[in-house]
């Protein structure tokens, strides 16, 4: 086989995969863009037409969109921040050799392995103010007077964040654990010879070498957190200022059948997540070069 034949074969072998990428990736994104310029409601299909930029004008003046964007950002920053700190702590702990680590490793992964909807339903039962386990434990410990309404107006967002932290900290921990494993032991031995303290070792060896892994974890988690839907849908339905953009988009697209405006918001969410990811990747590269 000469080079040309090989190239042609390679193209044909890649063709199915490319087709999938185009059909499942590019096509939906492009058709969303196209839809965002139309007036199109599934239930009023006869009124379909070109809408120009009116959907985007509506987006700018849509208070719910901006409020939900703020809530989504808050959820993302707090939950990813907590997951990073706790995940790092867990990874450091697991990286120490001690007995029963295999059991620890596998039990750690359980929350992450559960489907989110199942985990969310479980949390909504645990957090129920009257029959929930959390309140009954608090009551038995004598720490609670009136039952705490975890999913009520004051604590709803906090509870949602805690459920998310419980669920996805393992993901961060495992990525960081892989990172810790990749750091050669010689560095630590050398540091020990030089008489470096624990904090110094952590700051000058562990953290810098772990940075690429932290960046990957943060990137994945941020993208996921920004699109959070199922957890909130089950726990609060978006009540008490916990509605995120995905929940609002779902309402508009599926409950109202408004494909035009729903697509406009999807495009906005796409752009936000895209820019955010690019920013994180760039930050990652810069901090990588700095070493």
């Amino acid at each position: 086989m000469n080079t040309r034949q090989r190239a042609r074969l390679a193209f044909w072998l890649l063709a199915p995969a490319l087709t999938f990428v185009v059909v499942l990736g590019a096509f939906p994104v492009l058709s969303q863009f196209a839809l965002s310029f139309t007036k199109f409601n599934l239930k009023f299909a006869d009124e379909r037409g070109f809408a120009g930029l009116s959907n985007f004008a509506r987006l700018v003046s849509d208070g719910v969109f901006w409020q939900d964007l703020g809530q989504t950002a808050y959820f993302t920053v707090v939950s990813v921040g907590l997951e990073l700190v706790l995940g790092l702590a867990a990874a450091l702990l697991l990286n120490k050799v001690f007995r029963g680590r295999t059991a620890m490793n596998s039990s750690l992964i359980v929350p992450w392995a559960l489907p989110t909807v199942v985990a969310a339903t479980m949390w909504s039962l645990l957090l129920n103010d009257r029959i929930g386990l959390v309140n009954s434990v608090l009551e038995r410990l004598g720490l609670m007077g009136e039952p705490i309404v975890w999913l009520g107006p004051r604590l709803a967002m906090t509870s949602v964040i805690l459920a998310d932290v419980w669920k996805t900290t393992p993901f961060v921990a495992i990525i960081l654990l892989a990172g810790l494993k990749s750091i050669p032991n010689q560095y630590y031995e050398a540091a020990a010879l030089d008489g470096a303290g624990r904090w110094a070792v952590f700051r000058s060896i562990t953290l810098p070498l772990l940075k690429p892994f932290i960046a990957v974890a943060v990137l994945f988690r941020t993208m996921d957190a920004f699109r959070i839907f199922d957890l909130i849908w089950v726990l609060t339905g978006g009540a008490s200022r916990t509605e995120t953009l995905s929940v609002y988009i779902y309402r508009v697209l599926f409950r109202y059948g408004d494909l035009g405006y729903g697509s406009t918001m999807t495009v906005a969410l796409f752009v936000i997540v895209f820019v955010l990811s690019l920013g994180l990747i760039r930050f990652m590269r810069i901090s990588g070069e700095a070493q």
Binding site: P16, K43, D129, R130, P153, G237
Partner: protein
């Protein structure tokens, strides 16, 4: 080239697998999509119909239990012109939406004899003066109370909110129980509860009132919200009510932790069933109202409609007549406890023997009202839910919520 033909072969196999999924058979197939019936009565009826109609095979397809999910699944099917499903069971609030979208067809003249049905359910199948579905079973909000505790205290079942509140204070408070639990989570159930409170103070969300005299509509809303807040502020209702759906509130009542409960008729058999701590101790009554007004119950329940995309409309209509007919209603009432929409079924001796409480429900059903009937209902529902819930969580004042609600609803109603 061998490799090349292998690639092509793979593609061919994939295509033929997709193409194989359709099959041929001599009999006409009718698919009826509805929520699960745990009693098995519906399935038995379908089997019975199939046995009596050779050449037609009806298949009962169970849909997701969650109402909102079912709605969204149907919207997806029907906007894709799905022809596999012939008959859909629809929540009473969907008729206008599905009819306006052209997804369900107007029933032929004479298919429904109006005087045979209960008024509320019949209104729910009507869109622009035409019947688009047949009422299948009904539901309405009722007040459950603890017969034993009221009798012990010598207090009659309260008819006004004033008496209701003092009953809560006298009986529930000293016992450390909750006075009244209802559905206050932000979801469709909140709309049902809110409307009942609204009607009980003489308010309304009728199109004419909302569009033409918004100030009057706002007054009613403010009063209803004040009533709901008074339950929370006085501790008659626990703070958790704002996160409760039907089952959360039902559990507190059947656990004996609440004096009153607003819920749907299904609770009755659970209160009387095994595992209930209040067997034989519960009573049913119409909801209370403000002095000089009347209370109304929000209508729930389901209707059956014929899909526009059905390929066998005549056969489907025949089955529709059967499954919403007297015989089916009776069987489903006796075995499944489903509340009939036909008036005559409430007088049937067998039905009453199996469900003695139907007589009290029939009384409640005399004063029922529908939620707004509009193709834009999902949006209207969200507007109501959001504004009510934000008041109950002290995010905004009742006056502000009422003004927002009326303005937004009027915009939609006026088109």
């Amino acid at each position: 080239m061998k490799t090349m033909s292998a690639v092509v072969l793979c593609c061919l196999v994939a295509v033929s697998l997709v193409a194989c999924s359709s099959q041929e058979s001599g009999e006409i197939q009718i698919v009826f999509a509805a929520g699960n019936d745990p009693s098995g009565a519906t399935e038995a009826l379908v089997d019975e119909y199939n046995a009596a109609h050779p050449g037609v095979r009806v298949e009962f397809q169970t849909m997701p239990a969650n109402t909102d999910t079912q709605h969204d699944v149907y919207v997806t099917y029907l906007s894709a012109r799905e022809s596999d499903i012939d008959l859909y069971s629809l929540d009473v609030i969907w008729t206008a939406e599905f009819a306006r979208a052209g997804w369900i067809v107007a029933l032929p003249d004479g298919h429904i004899r109006p005087d045979e049905f209960l008024g509320g359910p019949l209104q729910s199948v009507t869109y622009e003066g035409t019947f688009y579905a047949v009422p299948w079973f009904t539901d309405a909000g009722v007040l459950y109370y603890r017969k034993d505790l009221l009798e012990e205290a010598g207090i009659p079942v309260p008819e006004t909110w004033t008496d209701f509140r003092s009953a809560c204070r006298e009986i529930a408070e000293p016992r450390g129980m909750d006075g009244f639990v209802w559905q206050g989570a932000r979801y469709e159930g909140l709309v049902c509860d809110f409307l009942e409170f609204l009607w009980s103070v003489g308010g309304t969300l009728d199109e004419t009132t909302v569009v033409e005299s918004p100030a009057e509509a706002e007054r009613g809303i403010v009063e209803a919200l004040g009533l709901m807040l008074s339950f929370l502020d006085s501790g008659i209702s626990p703070g958790g009510v704002l996160t409760y759906k039907e089952e959360d509130s039902r559990r507190l009542f059947t656990e004996g932790q609440s004096l009153f409960l607003r819920n749907w008729p299904y609770v009755w058999s659970m209160a009387e069933g095994e595992g209930s701590k209040i067997r034989g101790l519960a009573g049913i009554a119409p909801l209370p109202h403000v002095e000089g007004r009347t209370s109304y119950s929000t209508i729930g329940g389901w209707n059956v409609a014929l899909s526009t995309y059905s390929e066998h409309p005549d056969e489907a209509l025949d089955f529709l007549r059967f499954i919403t007919g007297e015989r089916a209603m009776k069987k489903r009432a006796i075995e499944g406890g489903y509340l009939p929409t036909l008036r005559s079924t409430y007088e049937d001796a067998d039905v009453l023997a199996a469900n003695p409480h139907f007589a009290s429900f029939f009384e409640v059903f005399q004063n029922t009202r529908n939620r707004p009937r509009s193709p834009h209902y999902p949006r209207m529902s969200d507007i109501i839910q959001e504004n009510v819930h934000r008041v109950l969580t002290y995010e905004i004042e009742p006056g502000e919520a009422a003004a927002d609600m009326v303005r937004e609803l009027a915009e939609i109603m006026a088109g």
